[in-house]
Amino acid sequence: MSTVNLVYFSWVRERIGRGEETLDVPANVVTVADLLTHLKTLGEEYETALEHQNVIRAAINQEHVDHREPIAGAREIALFPPMTGG
């Protein structure tokens, strides 16, 4: 088990129903992809928010990462839809 700080934005935030949370994750959650799979087991709101897993973008410690990135040592993991700035 380890503890991660999660932050959500846009419709990921709205569907999960909160903007941030601290979660304990099992030791077999190694990558961002593992984290997404794990979150989807935590309830319908996560399932709905993360249903189309391939469109979910992730950042670790405020830097973009892809889903294969290990999350070990992450202070903050952010999950959000494709960005629409500018």
Binding site: F80, P81, G85, G86
Partner: protein, 156 residues
């Protein structure tokens, strides 16, 4: 390259003259200043406002990365990027990018590069509020914006 880069993420509006003056006043080596202002469109009268959400901290950090990349790539003499968050009405400013260089092509390319990467890799999201009082949902990312970014051949 030690060109000054100014990045701000703010709720308030910005002033074009003030920002251009900050970047160019007191120096006589700049030959070209290109500014890009992105405004909220009313979408033929259907839109009441856009609500801009952002990831505080990462938004600033990511825009700085993009600006420094542009400065290095196009040998810019200075670059500024200001992105607003919160509620903006049609006709309001959303984003300002300024690129300064000795010659015009670099200034045009620098500003265009920064905008293309802001669109696709700065953590901002837009929600539509419609004129009839309903929420129009979140603006979707555009394939055209991904292609615009990809034409620079960079990996950011």
């Amino acid at each position: 390259m030690n060109a000054p880069v100014t990045v701000r993420v703010q709720r308030e509006d910005f002033d074009l003259n003030v920002e251009v003056a900050k970047l160019s006043s007191g120096r006589a080596d700049i030959g070209a200043v290109v500014t890009f202002s992105g405004l909220c469109r009313d979408e033929a009268g259907t839109l009441a406002a856009l609500e801009l959400e952002h990831y505080p901290g990462m938004a600033e950090a990511q825009i700085k990365r993009i600006c420094h990349e542009a400065v290095e790539r196009f040998s810019l003499q200075a670059a500024t990027a200001i992105h607003r968050y919160g509620r903006v009405a049609p006709g309001d400013n959303i984003v300002l990018v300024i690129a300064a260089s000795r010659h015009r092509q670099a200034a045009f390319d620098g500003a265009s590069f920064i905008m293309d990467f802001l669109k696709t890799s700065a953590p901002f999201w837009k929600k539509e509020h419609l004129g009839d009082g309903t929420t129009g949902g979140w603006v979707s990312a555009k394939d055209a914006d991904d292609r615009a970014q990809e034409r620079w051949g960079a990996d950011k």
